[in-house]
Symmetry: C2
């Protein structure tokens, strides 16, 4: 079915063009016209794939999430000790390289833009809240957590640490470089694990 494959591929190319426009001009510059130009398509051709900006927005957000999920699944297949596995997954969520910084910036711009429009749009959840619960449960079942911790509050706290660091890496990339991001996350996980 080469036609369908090409159709998906073209939709991804358009979504990636939208990311680049957002990175360059911010969300307010991400008009259908600018996105078509960046993708090297006519407005009519773009509308063949996405009937309006909202369709494209939801697709482009979903693609950010899918790319991150793929990377995390690749990490999860590696043969790592439990604590290192948790660290490796966390390093795929927070921005520690060019690719994840781009994804974070695009996601953040999306979130700010759709804040008032969630009810109208079918916005994908970023999956991080569910993810951190799994990581804490995994550490617990591997007998790595210190005694006396509240697992539910540990998940809430890890969720805050992850997104807080991600925001700071995004807005303060000069100060908070990737080594410092990793160091802070490792410090946090070490603080809740037996040594």
């Amino acid at each position: 079915m080469p036609k369908i494959v090409n159709h998906d591929k073209r939709m991804n190319q358009i979504a990636e063009a939208m990311w680049r426009v957002i990175l360059d001009k911010g969300m307010e510059g991400a008009t259908v016209r600018n996105i078509a130009e960046e993708a090297g398509l006519s407005l009519g051709a773009l509308r063949h794939y996405f009937k309006n900006q909202d369709d494209l927005l939801v697709y482009a957000m979903t693609l950010v999430k899918e790319r991150a999920t793929e990377r995390i699944e690749t990490v999860a297949k590696q043969d790592l000790p439990p604590k290192e596995m948790v660290m490796a997954v966390l390093f795929e969520i927070v921005p520690v390289n060019e690719q994840s910084l781009v994804e974070m910036e695009v996601w953040f711009a999306f979130m700010a833009y759709v804040k008032h429009r969630r009810a109208e749009l079918n916005i994908p959840d970023d999956g991080i809240f569910t993810g951190v619960h799994k990581l804490i449960a995994y550490l617990a079942s591997s007998d790595l957590l210190k005694e006396g911790l509240d697992l539910d509050l540990e998940a809430e706290r890890l969720y805050a640490v992850v997104d807080g660091i991600a925001i700071h890496a995004l807005f303060g990339a000069d100060r908070l470089q990737s080594e410092r991001v990793k160091q802070t996350l490792r410090y946090h996980i070490d603080s809740i694990c037996v040594s």
Copy 2:
């Protein structure tokens, strides 16, 4: 000098009108025209106080910061035990009531909007990074911190926890209500303090 007082008061009224427009329509709706209408002024009258949207933007952000700083200074004057003082200051930073939720939403919309324009604009720093360092230093000098902690990484981690929770309270107000926000922050501070 009643004229100057009225001048400042009018500028604050316009900035507050800008906040309301952002809350209602998002940053993309915060045009000078909409803000003038919300403030009950003509475009010409508004331009008497702010020569363009950027001037108004910087002023309105600075006012958010000033209001939060005033509340924190009021808390700091109270006669509280050190750990309760730290908690009370944190509760003024994260959104746990209608007022701080509004401030957070406006600040977040500002930040997303100015992401690509920092070099052009004189954007105020939110002061939280400096603030969390002071809080950790205060706990340390009050002999309340557990032994063996890395104070610099504790400040980095508290900074992440505070802004991560704030973002989650803003985007997931249905799930993360103010009691849960407070509980998570208290859990975190308890975890680094001697009991």
